[in-house]
Amino acid sequence: MASPVESAAAPADAAAATWKALPLTERMAWQHRVEQFLYEEADLLDRRLYREWFSRVATDVHYWMPIRRTVSLRNIDREFTQPGGMSFFDDDHNDLRMRVEKFYTGSSWSEDPPSRTRHMVSNVRITGLDGAAVTVQSDFLLLRTRMEGDADQFHGRRDDLLRVGGESFLLARRHIYLDHTVIHATNLSSLF
């Protein structure tokens, strides 16, 4: 019988084992650093400091949001499109740079006047550690309002790869799994 489990990117076994083997105090320190990074990043996006946000993105980033579909349990493996299929975002560093710079052009009408956003990040869970990088799973609720009465909600899960860089991290991979199939919004002009 098909399983109703929502698919999630699993870290390499070795990275998962390394993570689990760490003493609790070290895991707490990592957890704190990762959470602070994610909160700071959310804050930068909400305060429209997009270039600041982009400086925390690794040059080999893969920023990807597949399309979700309503499928029955027996076809549950097709709930999300796969890499190579169609997606909403399938960005490398330069693609993200264009999105970021677009905010500053003075003619990015979907964001000028700018949206008011609130990125709520929760359920942060580190799932693997390989010395230079951590795999992190988090849930998000992105609240967005525009003009008088437009109000959108986007929520879902993010699978991130955060690479240790100095005191903080660089975002090296972000796979965004929305809970929505049909997007009930005029656009996806926000970053997640």
Binding site: M65, P66, I67, R69, T70, V71, S72, R74, N75, R78, T81, Q82, G84, G85, M86, S87, F88, F89, D90, D91, D95, R97, M98, R99, E101, K102, T105, G106, S107, S108, W109, S110, D150, A151, D152, Q153, H180, T181, V182, I183, H184, A185, T186, N187, L188, S189
Partner: protein
């Protein structure tokens, strides 16, 4: 915001006369009544006289490659199942159980052996036959006529070069005739890329606008320079590609049209000299490299292979603009995508993007094509992000009684251009940025709303113009 979409009940459109319809668009003056974007009675009439009558794109052959592959689509407000049956034949049936009218499948896609209603368990085959009914003997006393209660199929289902279309109206002309030369050229713009394969995943989003604004915008090469300026500023595409002054418009019966960039006869002569290998090679170069090698060519891509001149005709092969198959199928040819603008009430439109890649593409070509598609259109597309609010606000503003007193202006190029009839019989307007196709769209839209039947529409439709337009 994430509300359930309620489709208004389509009742008999209350006593709308031909004179009313005539008043909604003045083709001589290029004036459009804003009421048509918000009036529920007009919406109801459109559902009956356009959507329940026209041919609608359902899928490409490659969307349902295997027996039992299915997905849901819409014909107007009707949910339909598109499925490949056990004989390998594509079927389109209403997604409604014939017993108590429950939706038959809630999954929007997948693979299945049959469709079973979740209410009382009536079970239908991939061909729509009612195969099993719980309680046939004890409750129905074996008196249920299963043949009578098969799934309701569309009236007609036909394909053109692998693209399936369906209509709910048995009186509709054959698909070939419905598409006509201009509609067929529109689809040929896609097949000119070679044999196509659907990419998995349809982007869907809902914009709070009337469907007609989302449709007529595809003909509009005037908005590009303003609406999409930021996409050009950040280097996504060159401005010269986005607003070429060399425009070409073809108009087809029933409201089909192609509007946008064109290749001049002189440029086509240069292309005619090139063999297919050279055409393909030029298409893989960057804009700058190509301009250096072939300065007399435009930047439009693709350079179509030689045999397409035969297929599309000497004028059609030069049309590089956006085709729309009336009412709501946009063919975005450069990016190999099809977009439906599905009405979900007068003030809501669901936009769908189907994407394709030619089978012969290598991995690098496929990656490039996918990149262009995912970054152009769809709700996150660098272009399309900025379209939706224009449409939504134009729709919303039309609700105001004072706003409704002033018509919309669709006058660009009115009376200034000429529809030239080529010796081949093909017709095109070659000019600058214009609003000819938008005017044609609304003129034909009036024909559809005035017609009481298909016969009536065929008799009284506006002929494609020649000469001054």
């Amino acid at each position: 915001m994430g509300q359930v979409v309620i489709i208004p009940v389509v009742s008999e459109a209350a006593a709308i006369s031909s004179a009313d319809v005539a008043g909604w668009f003045d083709a001589e003056q290029g004036l459009l009544d804003k009421k048509i974007f918000v009036d529920p009675a007009i919406y109801a009439l459109e559902q009956q006289r356009i959507f329940a009558r026209a041919w609608h794109f359902m899928c490409h052959d490659s969307h349902v490659p295997n027996t039992g592959d299915f997905f849901l689509s819409y014909i107007g407000a009707d949910s339909v199942i598109v499925v490949r049956d056990e004989q390998g034949v594509v079927q389109v049936m209403l997604n409604v159980c014939t017993h108590r009218g429950n939706i038959l499948t809630r999954a929007e896609m997948g693979n299945t052996h049959s469709f079973q209603c979740t209410y009382h368990g009536w079970n239908f085959g991939l061909d729509g036959k009612l195969n099993a009914v719980p309680g046939t003997e004890p409750f129905y006393r074996c008196k249920l006529d299963r043949e009578r209660w098969a799934l309701q199929k569309v009236a007609k289902l036909e394909s053109y070069k692998g693209f399936y279309f369906a209509t709910l109206d048995p009186d509709a002309p054959p698909l070939h005739d419905y598409l006509g030369e201009v509609g067929r050229i529109g689809i040929d713009q896609m097949t000119a890329h070679g044999e196509l394969e659907a990419v998995d995943g349809v982007q869907k989003n809902i914009i709070e606008c009337n469907w007609k604004i989302a449709v007529d915008n595809l003909y509009d090469w005037y908005h590009v320079n303003v609406t999409h300026r930021s996409a050009m500023r950040v280097g996504f595409v060159a401005a010269s590609v986005m607003q070429p002054n060399q425009q070409m418009v073809m108009l087809g019966e029933y409201g089909h049209a192609i509007s946008g960039p064109g290749i001049s006869q002189e440029q086509q002569q240069v292309i005619d000299e090139l063999d297919d290998a050279e055409r393909a090679r030029l298409d893989t170069l960057s804009f700058a490299e190509r301009a250096a090698l072939a300065p007399r060519l435009t930047e439009r891509r693709p350079i179509r292979p030689a045999h397409m001149k035969e297929v599309m005709g000497p004028v059609g092969v030069r049309a590089m603009g956006h085709p729309n198959i009336f009412p709501n199928l946009w063919i975005s040819t450069r990016a190999l995508q099809l977009s439906l603008r599905i009405p979900r009430g007068p003030l809501k439109t669901e936009v769908w993007w189907f994407s394709f890649v030619p089978k012969h593409y290598n991995a690098a070509q496929r990656r490039m094509a996918m990149k262009f598609m995912s970054h152009s259109f769809g709700p996150a597309g660098l272009f399309e992000q900025d379209d939706g609010e224009n449409w939504a606000h134009a729709t919303r503003a039309a609700l105001g009684p004072a706003s409704q007193r002033t018509p919309q202006n669709l006058q660009m190029g009115l009376g200034e251009d000429e529809m030239v009839v080529d010796p081949s019989g093909q017709r095109a307007i070659e000019t600058k940025v214009n609003e000819h196709a938008q005017r044609w769209h609304y003129r034909c839209w009036q024909d559809w709303l005035r017609a009481a039947s298909w016969q009536d529409l065929q008799r009284n439709k506006t002929p494609v113009p020649a000469g001054k337009v």
